[in-house]
Symmetry: C2
Subunit: 290 residues, 2 copies
């Protein structure tokens, strides 16, 4: 298949593009940033500009739409930037997908659910996000599903767990902890560290994208979330076990998302996807990569 | 109070601006279109351009944020336009409101709820919109409520019923029926006409905005919907009773929103608002105005 990966210069985009290559697909990367990979055709462009999105989609069977303002702190500070990239961007992707008969696989997030009304959260759980990042990611998801219904572009949205793996953004909690510990600086946990995340390895997420590219599922959402919850405190302790340093607790950071238990059972049944990387192995791999 | 009304050249914006004037408030209109009203200062500007929004907000106590892509058919055809005006626009309004300490009263819509999970729908009902219009209106509402929480700008969102009154858009169902009947052309109902709407008169909506401007309620949503449901068939029959013409039935229009019974009890208790215009009077007034 010929697959366009938006956000291909970002953490998840790179993992998805690389995994598509190993599976024998032809990959084009699309990103604001310039990229360099010998096996990937690269298009530098802006999701907010329909002309560049439309031109990029020509000749592709599938769009893995991963490009977004994915930094929650940036989204809180500049919500208009998140709205433009994440909502207008999805509208552009939906329109270009419809024009050029390309299927869309969208990188949504478990954070669209908001506070749990029941747990574990399945895909029928109401969505009530309260942060500019998750609000705009959900609106983008819905714009794409609406494009499927109104303009007949097949759309499958993957609601991804908090991802980790090599090449994480410097302001992710993993990188902050690891970078501080390696310098011997103290690690400060915001809040009591009891809140957990179902950290999902980028290799598992990349596998889900490849399955989704070749699936016929459409007009649907699927949770792509690893089953085990790791608390922030456990994460910090694992880092400190590798690079001993002081561990302290600070006040919670405003806008941090409360934890919720999310089920990926539907993805197992319908897409044949299960997380394969256990946290210990994924964490060791990440530490070794640094 | 000094009130900025966005979308002041539109149907609802005009009603709200006029009612604010009669209540002794100083009104500034903001719209893409040029406007003309001797008692209203006018600023021509674009919600998608932060500079023009920010400059317009200076010196106002309240923003009645009504400007939007409000035409559902336009939103379906050009979802990126709806995303820009309705989501990026709200992000700009929230940011400007925070900068200049202005309260925001937002024109949301009952259509944000999507298919009812229970009826009557109150403000705690989950929101699951599926059309680019309602998706972007809800995202805008949530961006503003998030701005209240993150940046301390007081926001009250009014989820308005389907509005009617003098000056309706030519492609509203009222105007289409009335204009056809007056010309003696047949009226075609899309579907069986059994679907109803809680048509809410613009004068009642304008009253709700004025109450909301002077209220302290914030970080909240309130349904502003008249209690009586009128079916499309009843509406058509009322028009035909005034201007006799042929009445026929066609296939449903894709993207039309299914009806749902919405309760405005909370607005009665918390804002002291109830619809005062009964449909017969409002309809007669509208017919006389044409």
């Amino acid at each position: 298949m010929r697959v366009l990966v938006t956000g291909a210069a970002g953490f998840l985009g790179r993992h998805v593009a690389n995994h598509l290559l190993t599976q024998g697909h032809a990959v084009t990367g699309f990103d604001l940033a310039r990229g360099g990979h010998p096996d990937i055709r690269w298009i530098q462009g802006d999701l907010g500009d329909f002309g560049s999105v439309d031109a990029a989609v020509v000749g592709h069977d599938v769009i893995c739409h991963i490009g977004a303002v994915g930094d929650v702190y940036l989204a809180a500070e500049q919500p208009e930037l998140a709205a433009r990239a994440n909502v207008v961007g999805c509208a552009h992707i939906g329109r270009a997908g419809a024009s050029h008969r390309a299927r869309v696989v969208y990188a949504s997030t478990w954070e669209v659910y908001g506070s749990p009304r029941y747990e574990p959260i399945d895909e029928d759980h109401p969505c009530d996000p309260d942060h500019p990042y998750s609000i705009t990611k959900l609106a983008g998801e819905r714009m794409l599903i609406a494009a499927d219904r109104l303009h007949d572009v097949p759309v499958l949205a993957l609601r991804l767990g908090t991802s980790y793996g090599s090449g994480l953004r410097p302001n992710s909690v993993f990188r902050i902890f690891i970078d501080k510990a390696r310098r011997g600086d103290p690690i400060t946990i915001q809040g009591d560290g009891a809140q957990g995340r179902q950290f999902t390895h980028a290799s598992d997420i990349a596998r889900a994208f490849v399955l989704a590219c070749t699936s016929d599922l459409r007009r649907r959402t699927l949770n792509i979330v690893a089953p085990v919850t790791i608390s922030i405190k456990e994460l910090a302790e694992a880092v400190v076990a590798r690079y001993p340093t002081e561990l302290s607790f600070g006040s919670p950071r405003p806008g941090d998302v409360a934890p919720a238990l999310v089920s990926a059972e539907r993805a197992a049944h319908e897409l044949g996807w299960r997380a394969e990387m256990d946290f210990e192995s994924g964490f060791s791999e990440l530490m070794d990569a640094h």
